[in-house]
């Protein structure tokens, strides 16, 4: 009896094989985006396990070869000096960027194909929570090298948390373990970043995947040949390639590609060079947030100080409007998408992106708003004044909405077939 047999007998692997290994996976390039995010997460865990061996979560000053610097910064520079240490740190950073980018693209795919509709509202919300959690985990990780940039970014985050009306002071102090920079902040953020974030994200990723397993994927609208068979079986047949061996082979290749992409980016494009930024000092560098927070940064620049108002004894300052009210309203709108879209839905089919001009127009207008707010973050570089940027931010989404809506409607009328739920 072979070794494989031995395990098969004891773990009843035949039943497992019959039930799960034949699970159909959709074949469409955009259906790999979620997997890419998952592989980035795996890469983050692996590189993080290495970094955690050397990183010292402390802002206390230590003397390194005659110069005094915080222990966290000193340990970061030490990691950079190890063989492959700098590569590991850069790959960790790049994998985080790639993960957020993959989640955002995954979100866009789900939005534009209306795959968020009943019964998949739950996974839409869970996916957004995963995106928010990933961004928060990145924000906590940003502080850890404890260089000049990290400290500036975290100080701004602290100021934003403080601007919460009524309870801001307590909220900020609880989240940042005292008035930043407090000696307790670095150990606290270390715990957030290496204990809480991976545990919570792993659990939520597991739940996200379980729900997909239970609900099955939406059938891509391009697989017209397959949908005939699904129709024949009353929509109960989901087509695709089996998990084993075809999908597993694809996933292995995809993982290696993600790994290669992160490694190549890290090798050629330095990201967050802590040693170059230097330990924290009194002056503030020209600091811009990472690309996925540029829109909040732009909103902060757009809201003038005299827009602040008082409400029930609390001051709603410009920073609360720019970093909480505006992003909060946008996030809420995205969260409620499955309930705002009242069109009748198909249980099994992803819609063609052009099928609904209204949704396509809303999606592209939303993307334009994000882009315009991000551009506002470069007001100094572009020599654009705040009023001009206000006009651009408010008008460009409307223009894009109108142009998309009229073009897509005309196309729908011309082709006729696209209007019918699916094509």
């Amino acid at each position: 009896m072979g070794l494989a047999e031995w395990f098969v007998e004891r773990l009843a692997l035949d039943r497992f094989r019959a039930k799960y290994l034949g699970k159909p996976f959709p074949v469409h390039t955009t259906f790999f985006l979620g997997e890419i995010a998952l592989f980035c997460f795996a890469l983050l865990v692996v590189t993080g396990l290495y970094l955690a061996l050397f990183y010292e979560p402390s802002a206390e000053n230590v003397n390194v070869g005659g110069s005094v610097m915080p222990a966290a910064f000193a340990s970061t520079v030490l990691i950079d000096s190890h063989p492959f240490g700098l590569l590991m740190r850069r790959m960790h950073h790049w994998a985080a960027h790639l993960m957020i980018a993959a989640i955002v693209l995954h979100l866009l795919r789900v939005f534009f194909t209306a795959a968020y509709r009943k019964p998949r509202e739950l996974n839409w919300v869970l996916g957004l929570v995963l995106l928010a959690g990933t961004i928060m985990a990145s924000f906590a990780g940003y502080l850890l090298p404890y260089d000049q940039f990290s400290v500036t970014a975290t100080a701004i985050g602290y100021g934003i948390a403080r601007s919460v009306p009524w309870i801001g002071g307590a909220v900020a102090d609880v989240l940042f373990a005292g008035r930043f920079p407090s000696p307790s902040t670095v150990p606290r953020f270390f715990a957030y970043h290496v204990v809480y974030a991976p545990l919570i994200l792993s659990a939520l990723i597991g739940l996200h995947l379980l729900i997909v397993l239970k609900q099955k994927h939406t059938e891509p609208s391009s697989s017209a040949g397959h949908s005939a068979s699904a129709d024949a079986s009353g929509g109960r047949l989901i087509s695709g390639i089996p998990f084993w061996p075809q999908q597993s082979a694809l996933m292995a290749v995809l993982f290696l590609l993600v790994f290669a992409a992160a490694a190549a980016l890290s090798a050629f494009l330095p990201v967050h060079p802590s040693g170059y930024y230097g330990p924290p000092g009194p002056a503030t560098p020209e600091v811009k947030p990472d690309w996925y927070l540029l829109w909040v940064y732009g909103a902060l620049r757009l809201i003038p100080g005299d827009l602040s108002f008082r409400l029930f004894g609390a001051t709603i300052g410009s920073e609360a409007i720019g970093a909480m009210l505006v992003p909060g309203a946008i996030a809420l709108a995205i969260l409620l998408v499955p309930w705002l879209d009242r069109a009748p839905s198909s249980l099994y089919f992803a819609e063609h992106p052009l099928a609904s001009p209204a949704r396509l127009a809303m999606g592209l207008a939303g993307l334009t708003l994000f882009a315009a707010l991000s551009v506002a973050g470069f007001s100094d570089e572009l020599k654009l004044s705040v009023p001009v940027l206000w006009v651009v931010t408010l008008l460009s989404p409307l223009v894009v909405w109108w142009a998309t809506y009229s073009l897509a409607s005309r196309r729908r009328r011309a082709s006729g077939t696209l209007g019918l739920g699916r094509n």
Binding site: T152, A155, I156, Y158, G159, I160, R162, S163, G168, G169, A170, D173, V174, F176, A177, G178, R179, P181, S182, P183, S184, T185, R188, G281, P282, A283, T284, P285, E286, V287, Y297, L300, R301, I303, P304, G305, D306, S308, T315, G317, S318, E319, G322, S379, D380, S385, V386
Partner: protein, 190 residues
């Protein structure tokens, strides 16, 4: 009391007791208080360079020419980041209210360097801008603009209030010294 009633009462008492016991634990989440660096500037404190090769050396009248500025701390009080000041030397003829002119000496005026928007360190700039075609103070984080000639009032951008002024005078050796504390709370106040 029957057994069910007793079990219910025990459960409820237990929940209330657990919540009550958790409160001091939750309070500890606020972290350690800062031990060092809570001192604020006092009259007579010399201002010393915060950065550069002169770090720790006193700022004197001759340290800068007109329309220049340096970052400084009150001597021995650099632990408290809120003590960071931007000492500017401006054209005395242009200085006007709401700058407290009693706290200005020969065009040397000091303001808190902590932006009132989100706490970044502000900078002095001579480069003329649309909203400030004269030497001004700006914040590199979210582009707040302040007018150092007129009490660092907000010229534009997201800052909610002016940078508080720190009154200064010159001592007998020509060194810039503090002549009191900041005129208003420093940094982000909510």
């Amino acid at each position: 009391m029957d057994r069910r009633g007793f079990a219910n009462l025990s459960l409820k008492t237990g929940i209330v007791a657990a919540i009550a016991a958790a409160i001091p634990g939750i309070a500890t989440l606020r972290g350690r208080a800062k031990t060092a660096g809570s001192k604020s500037p006092e009259p007579g404190d010399r201002l010393v360079f915060a950065l550069g090769q002169n770090a720790g050396q006193p700022v004197t009248e001759g340290s800068f020419t007109q329309n220049e500025a340096v970052l400084a701390f009150p001597e021995g009080k650099s632990d408290n980041h809120d003590n960071l000041v931007l000492v500017c030397r401006l054209n005395p003829a242009l200085l006007a209210a709401p700058t407290s002119l009693d706290g200005v000496v020969r065009g040397v005026v000091a303001y808190s360097a902590i932006c009132t928007h989100l706490g970044c360190t502000v900078r002095f700039s001579e480069e003329p801008m649309d909203m400030a075609p004269f030497p001004h103070i700006h914040c590199p984080c979210h582009a707040a603009l302040f007018d150092p000639h007129r009490g660092a009032v907000v010229l534009g951008g997201p800052a909610p209030r002016p940078l508080p002024q720190l009154p200064v005078r010159l001592n007998e050796r020509g060194e810039v010294v503090a002549d009191g504390n900041f005129a208003a709370p420093v940094g982000v106040v909510t």
